[in-house]
Symmetry: C2
Subunit: 114 residues, 2 copies
């Protein structure tokens, strides 16, 4: 019933699976092929392919071509949006939030927050 999801929903949905988060963690260490990414898991290769499509659809990975391999690389940009979103709520758990925010304003005066 939600045919065209907003970006943040797509990102969160992609992150809501431990296999996919493990794939991202692996890619943080560098490029990897589908078979390499599949190795730690007990699920089938087509299942991995599907997970990779979800991650690609969320813009969290990019895919290349080298012969018959499809090397995957991490793209953390959507994670930045997640960080920006969640940091709105920081004041609800961190009482030192105001000091941190002040620091960020001083440190990166050019980076405007929405």
């Amino acid at each position: 019933m939600m045919q065209q999801r907003d970006t943040l929903s797509t990102t969160f949905a992609a992150l809501a699976d431990p296999t996919r988060r493990a794939i991202l963690a692996r890619l943080a260490a560098g490029e990897a092929s589908v078979t390499e990414l599949a190795a730690p898991f007990s699920i089938s290769l087509p299942a991995i392919t599907k997970h990779l499509k979800v991650l690609e659809g969320a813009g969290l990975i990019r895919r290349g071509r080298q012969a018959q391999w499809r090397p995957c690389t991490l793209d953390a940009q959507p994670l930045r949006d997640v960080a920006d979103w969640v940091q709105q709520y920081r004041k609800f758990w961190d009482h030192n939030f105001d000091r941190l925010e002040e620091y960020l304003r001083e440190m990166h005066p050019q980076e405007k927050k929405s």
Copy 2:
């Protein structure tokens, strides 16, 4: 096929819906009843009840009782876990990450990261 999800997966799944994120945003402004939370949306009350159960299951809200009302309040603790998780990837988008991390060490030497 995933009968008992890990905490982070449950949290991300709860956040993967715009209605639920809007409910959290509303609760950031303070306690609200179910009817109040439902007001901005065009979906039925039972649907809201379900969303609230998902949020409660993820530990993102708590529910009280006042007469026939069930006031909801925000609990941002799981969002802290999200922030901790996503910040692992900060170096992939933020080149000033190292400086920020250093600052955090100086500012909050008592707060250890996992």
